[in-house]
Structure formats: C-alpha cells, structure tokens
C-alpha cells in the first residue's frame, strides 16, 4: 500500500464524509469538520510561528537590530491586557491604531481607484474615435443604468413620482445584472464538482481497490445502524 494508494483512500473517505452533510448532519461530517478544523488551525499556528514570529519579528529584531519592531510587539502584547479588566482599555489603543490606519489609507485610494477610475471607464468609450453607433448606444445605456442605480440608492429622498420611476429602472438593471452573473458563475461551480467526481471515479477503479465504493457502502451501513440505534434510544426514552 504505497503512499498514493493510501492517499487515494484518505481523499475518497474525506470527500464522502464532507458530502454526507448534504444528506444531514451526521457523525461522519462532524468527524470531517473537526478534523479539518484541527488541521487548519495547526497549519495556521505553524505559519504564524515560522513566518510572523521567527521571520517577521525574531530575525529582524535580534539578528538585524531593527529596534523599531519593538513598537508593534508592544501593540500586539497590549491586546493581552483584555484578561485584566482594570487595564483592558490599553488594548483599545491597538484597535484604534489598526482602524485608524485602515481608514486613512482607504480614502484617497477609493477616490482614485473607485470613483475616478469607474467614471473614466464609463465615459471614455463614448468618445473613442470611430466608435460604431452600436457602441455609442451601449455606452449611453450604461450611463442610464449607472445613473438610475445611483438614484435608487438615495436615502433621504422619498421614492415617489419621477424618482420612483427612475429607481424602478435602476432596480431592473440590478436584477438583470445579478441574474446574469449568477448564471455566469454556475459553470465555474459545476467544474469544481466535475473535478471531485473525476477523482471519486478514479478512486473507484481496481487500481485503488475500489476505495470509493467500499467506503460508500460502509458509510451507508453505519448510518443506517446509527439511525436505528438512535430511534430505539428515543423510543425507550419516550416510554421510560
């Protein structure tokens, strides 16, 4: 049983465990869920130790004498004041540090990358030299769409009269767009399932000693047993 065969059995088993959640919550899914939880936290702790602590803090601080890194260390440690109610307020300075940084950084970039670029992307095709009438028509449709969606999102204006009609147009644009992008992504989601099905079919071949089939049958039997046992238990509890 070299490592690829064993790997196949594990992959087939875990795949069936997680798919069993589609039936209903059962011990197999619960096992897979907690196994995945433990593995992922272990993996993250490992990355934090090697990348954040050793790579990001210990080496630069102690080997390269970058003493500026003491400040984030203190900020990070201040989060642990949460466990001492009297000095818990210190951790709020770290919150303010992170939140302030995020807010300050966002504003100019959102103006440039969000508002300016978006408007430019909408209006430049209109002025393109040699644009066919169809391109200009589509450009105008886009402008009408954007304008009506913006008007739909007005908060301080009652949706009645002309405003109501325009925002209706806006909502129609939004709904067609959401329907279209929903339909567009179905193919990508399906190809994920096609990929898993290929693997399951491959693991059901003699090369892998029919792993998928054996595991599937075992799971179904155990589940039936588990269900009947639970029913008996509930039955005895009910009349006990």
């Amino acid at each position: 049983m070299d490592s690829t065969i064993l790997g196949g059995w594990i992959a087939a088993g875990l795949t069936l465990f997680m798919f069993s959640s589609l039936y209903k919550d059962n011990p197999f899914y619960r096992f897979g869920e907690h196994l995945y939880l433990g593995l992922s936290v272990g993996y993250i702790i490992l990355k934090v130790i090697y990348a954040n602590i050793i790579g990001g803090l210990y080496k630069p601080l102690f080997e390269d004498h970058q003493y500026m890194l003491l400040i984030p260390t203190i900020l990070g440690l201040s989060l642990y004041t949460r466990f001492f109610p009297k000095i818990a307020w210190i951790s709020r300075i770290t919150f303010a540090f992170i939140v302030g940084y995020g807010s300050g950084l966002t504003i100019p970039r959102i103006i440039a990358g969000g508002i300016f670029q978006q408007i430019e992307k909408i209006i430049t095709p209109l002025g393109k030299t040699g644009a066919t009438w169809w391109e200009v028509f589509s450009g105008i449709v886009i402008i009408i769409g954007v304008a009506s969606v913006l008007i739909y999102f007005f908060f301080s204006v009652e949706h009645k009269g002309i405003i109501n009609k325009i925002s209706r147009v806006g909502i129609y644009f939004v709904m067609i767009a959401f329907g279209a992008s929903f339909g567009y992504t179905v193919m990508a989601r399906m190809s994920l399932l096609i990929g898993r099905s290929y693997d399951l079919i491959e693991f059901a071949t003699p090369k892998y000693y029919y792993a998928t089939i054996v595991l599937l049958v075992l799971m179904v039997l155990i589940l039936i047993l588990y269900e009947s046992m639970r029913k008996k238990e509930e039955g005895s509890e009910a009349n006990a």
């Binding site: 919150f95 105008i140 929903f182």
Partner: protein
Amino acid sequence: MRNYPAMILLVILLFLFIPISLPAQESVSPTPIAIAETPSEFQAYDTPNDCLSNISISWKAMSPESESIQYVVSIDKSADGKFEQEADKFPSVYNWKSDKEWPFWVSGTKEGYHYVELNILQQFPPLTQAELNKKKAELQKVRSEIEKAKLDNKDYSEANTKKLVLMDDLKILENKISKEKAEIKAKTYYFKVTAVDKNNQVLFTSPVLSAQTQNNGFNQSLLINFLAMIFLCATVLWFISHAKKNKNLFLRRINGLDAVEEAVGRATEMGRSIFYMTGITDMSDIACICATVILGKISEKVAQYDSQIKVPHRDPIVMTVCQEIIKEAYIKAGRPDAYKSDSSFYVTGDQFAYTAAVNGMMMREKPAASFLMGSYAAEALLLAECGATTGAIQIAGSDSTDQLPFFITTCDYTLIGEEFYAASAYLSREPVLVGTLKAQDFGKLFVLAALVIGAVFSLAHMPWIIDIIKDFS
C-alpha cells in the same frame, strides 16, 4: 433638494477654470538658422510631483524633424562652461511631452513639445557611491556565509560579529552619502540643447538654460483627488452639524433593517440562538469595521430581548473587538450580568474550514436568525444556503458585488453595497450618523453630475476634460 443644483454648478465651474500657475521660467527668443522653423520656447525646471533629483527640459519641436537629425542635451556646472558632458542624445522623432502621464494643469500644452528628464545624481554621482556598493556586496557575502553555516550547523558567531560591524560601517557611509547628495542637489545646473545632423554637424544650439532641483511637497497631478477629499470631508462635517440642528431628517425605508427587530424577537420566542458573521477581512478593512458597528446595534436588541448571540470568527483581533462591543451593548441595555464572554469566539483562519465548522454548528443548533455582514468570497453561498435550509431568517449586508447575487437568491433580506454602510446610521437613528447619510446622498448627486457632464464632453470629443477625473496615481 432645492438648492443642490445651484451649488453643484458653482463647484464644477470652480474646477474647470482653476488658475493653476505653471512653474515660472524665462523664455528666450531663438537665433535664426537654415532650418525652416527652429526649436523654440526652451524651458528647464525641476520635475514636478517628485522628490528625486530630476530636471525636466522641454522645447517646441522644430520642422523638419527626422531620424537623421539628433538632439543632444549637454549639462555643465557653470553657465560659461564648455558643456562637453552629453546627458542625452536621441533622434528628433522621439521623447514627446504627450507620452508623459500628466494632467493638462501640470503639463500645459503637450502636443508638439519635446520632453527630456535628467537625473542630476546620475550625471554627477556622489564619490562615496562606489565604496557603499562594495560594502553592501561584502555584507551580502557574510550573510550567505552565515546561512550556509547555519545549515550544516557550524559555529557562525565570528561571522555574526563581522556582520554587525559591517552594518555599522554601512550606517556611517549612508549618512555621509546622503549629505553629499543633498549638496549636489542644492546646486544650480546649466543646460544646452543642440541639433546635429548625421555627421555631427551642429545645425542649431539653444541658449543656456538653468534650473535647480527641489523636493516637491505635493503631487500636483493628484490635485483634483485632494480637492475631492477636502470637499467630501467638508460635506460630511457640514451635514453632521446641520443634522444636530434639525433632528427629523426623512430616511427612506430599508426593509432589511426593519426586519432586524422581527428576527431578534423570533429568536427569543423560539428560544434559539442568533448567528452573526463579520466576513473574511480584518480590522483594517472598512467593511469589517462596519460589520462590527452593526453588531453593536444588533446585540443591544439581543440584550433587550434576552436572546443569545453567537459570533464565530476567523481573525483574533476582530474577535476581541467584537467581545468588547457585545459587552458594551449588554451594559448599555442595562443587563451586564446576561453577557456571556464566549458569545464571540475564534474558529479558524482557513476560509473553508471556517465554513465547514459554522455550517456544522448551524445544522445542529438550527439558529432562528443569521446575519451575514461584511466582505465575502466564494464561501458566501455555502454559509447562506446552509442557513436558509436550517430555516433561519437571514439578513445579509455586503459590499462584495460578485457575491451579492448569491445573497439576493438565498437570504430573506439583502443590504446592497451602500445600504450596508448606511445600516449603522439607520439602526441608531442618531442625528449625527443620519447626517452622514445626507452627505453620502450629496456625494452621489455630485458623482451623477460629473458622470453626465463627463459623458457630454466625451461625446463632443474633448478628451482633455477627462483629465479632471483621471487617476494619475
């Protein structure tokens, strides 16, 4: 809505005709030569929008121009020097000002003007540069020695001390070189542009130009962006003070937010918990901050209804902030004892392990209500569909436009984009927060106006106007 249009027109006119004065230089009359039209309007000035040691030289193109005629830009430290140092040489059909990514108020007229940028430090490099590069190479060698020694775990303490000594030398050298660079940058330099033909025959020489590099404190290309930020800040602050005065500002209904009360009430009747998810991002992202702010308002209602809220997390800092927020909400609702510290707990950082765990909890506990707030990726549909099948009332609020279609189809109510950001103001109805909504409306009106006017100008084929809203970062 009556005084808005007037204000907008005023502001837009302000933008269109900003009297931005170009950096002042003297322009000199050309000397006559055989060429039909000689190069003219020679200018040399510090390159705007940077803190490097660059000097820009621009001049109006001569005619005729061809591959064979070459321009030579020479540089010298004094006005009456011999100008032997050749800074740049190129055929006269290249190096145009229009290639430069500058808006019209920085570049002035672009068509038909040549443009060259010279780095003073490259023309006159500081003397200690060579020594500095040698020292850096040495340090790199010592570092790789230490790495190798570490691998076959030999003693590397001796190499380590050598490294620290080298690092100190480097610091001294770096200070010395930066002083030298400052001196070089401070001087004024003199330039000459000559047009030569194939066999280096001088056809034309420009008068002597002079310029000095400066550190520009402000990137002029981003002027409109800066003005927009100041304008939006002023709008927000003005509407907030305005809102303090008259409290009853009209706000249209957002049915997602009216359902919050109903959802929390239902959870109490059924005696089941409420799940609240804050999204995939961390505390430095505005969507996550907004999600935690909404959590504060919702947990106040949870405290009043004495229901039970669960907030599974992926990021430890967001978890800590949420613990603080929920505790505060319980105190504000006057039920500090009912607060349970494990209502906000860490699950895992991995996207799909988190989804598997939370789906498992939802299937088992069958929550009465579940809130999906903040930014989401592919796991949005997994969480929302699983919540829907356990029969919970689901209210989603997100700014991830590519996940909104899945929220729309699986959740009972969805706050689309801006509605998600307005939620905290809606739920608290504090005049100050409602004021910011008015500011957002005003901003939208402004964006709408810019869009329409931009479209008109674009259709009229006047592309220079689009410089105003172009992103030159």
